[in-house]
Symmetry: C2
Subunit: 184 residues, 2 copies
DNA sequence: AAGCCTATGTTCAAATTTTGAACATGGGCT
DNA sequence: AGCCCATGTTCAAAATTTGAACATAGGCTT
């Protein structure tokens, strides 16, 4: 099926979110913006938080499935930050709302995925225990998450934070470090 | 109601029309492009010619209702040619199809409207017979139409034809001419 | 603090739209 | 002549949208 209505709801919501805070957006606003009945909204989504979660989850899925090349950590971040910058005000309003938790979970999930994919390759030919792999994923993804968190809370400078490159370098060092350690 | 499906059908159709000739576009192509059931197409439109006519008619209506300022003949043409240029290949494919007639009728209708609105103002304070007004509309709109026709059949040069300005000047002279004539 | 206003969610049945399947037709191609 | 494929049509089932009504709760005003 095509589900144009769901799509329209999401688009209206993001549009409004680029205009004003989450707390200032009602179901009525959304349905009026896309010209549908209020019940049609409730048919597709339980409420606004559910809509938001759907959008964020789908966005994460899309980023993950489109995640282009396994060997480029920067590329993954690039794609993710691109969306955030394009919808800067929306992200800002989500981030500065009661739903910050959810957004953080999404960010963390994304980080873990990107990092996991990357480390999978880095560890490919090495015999590293599952524990060490998980540790590496946690360490690297948390440092990435921290970076993004900082970027968001400090106002989302348009420039892709210069740190990112440095942190990526750091990330690349971690697998080697762990491999080395597991040999001893 | 919102009618997202109709909108999607039209968008897909125009998209395809920008890619290839009308004769190479099937109902199947359209429904596959927007991911709906074939019957949903037939629910909304009788067939492809009907769809085309709807699009052209609506486009004309929209141009007419958005027609910004009555006193600017150039502005009206500007808006009209803008759409044509934006959808250059689509217009080209429509124009070079069995449906050329329809498109010409649309063009003529648009010309008459724009000219009519313009002359309405030009004749506002003058006592000119209805016959003379109609004559003026016909003369001016036909010359505009001829201009557009020529523009289309000669390949739709991106530049707004330089003639347009000259023809507009000519058009502006006509009301005066007629007013003058009706005084004698 | 009471009353008012508005958004929220829910429920329901009716209306509309979408879908899948089947069928007959006709044009184009080999 | 026979085949393939797109076209239109029909039909009933499924999904979606709509309008109306209702109870609730929070915010605001007086």
């Amino acid at each position: 099926m095509a589900n144009f209505t769901q799509k329209a709801i999401k688009e209206s919501f993001i549009k409004l979110l680029n205009e004003r805070p989450l707390s200032k957006i009602s179901v009525k606003d959304i349905v009026e913006d896309c010209g549908i009945n209020r019940n049609s909204f409730y048919y597709h989504f339980q409420d606004i938080p559910a809509l938001l979660e759907t959008i964020i989850t789908e966005q994460a899925d899309e980023l993950i499935s489109n995640y282009p090349e396994i060997d480029s950590l920067e590329k993954g971040l690039e794609v993710a930050t691109q969306f955030a910058i394009q919808n800067k005000m929306a992200v800002f309003h989500i981030y500065n709302s009661v739903n910050r938790d959810m957004y953080e979970q999404y960010t963390m999930r994304l980080c873990k995925h990107v990092v996991g994919r990357y480390l999978e390759v880095a560890f490919k030919d090495e015999s590293v225990s599952k524990e060490d792999k998980d540790l590496a994923i946690r360490v690297v993804s948390c440092s990435l998450f921290g970076l993004v968190y900082d970027w968001l809370s400090s106002g989302m400078n348009e420039e892709r934070p210069a740190d990112i490159k440095r942190v990526c370098e750091l990330c690349k060092g971690i697998p080697e470090m762990i491999i080395e350690r597991s040999k001893n």
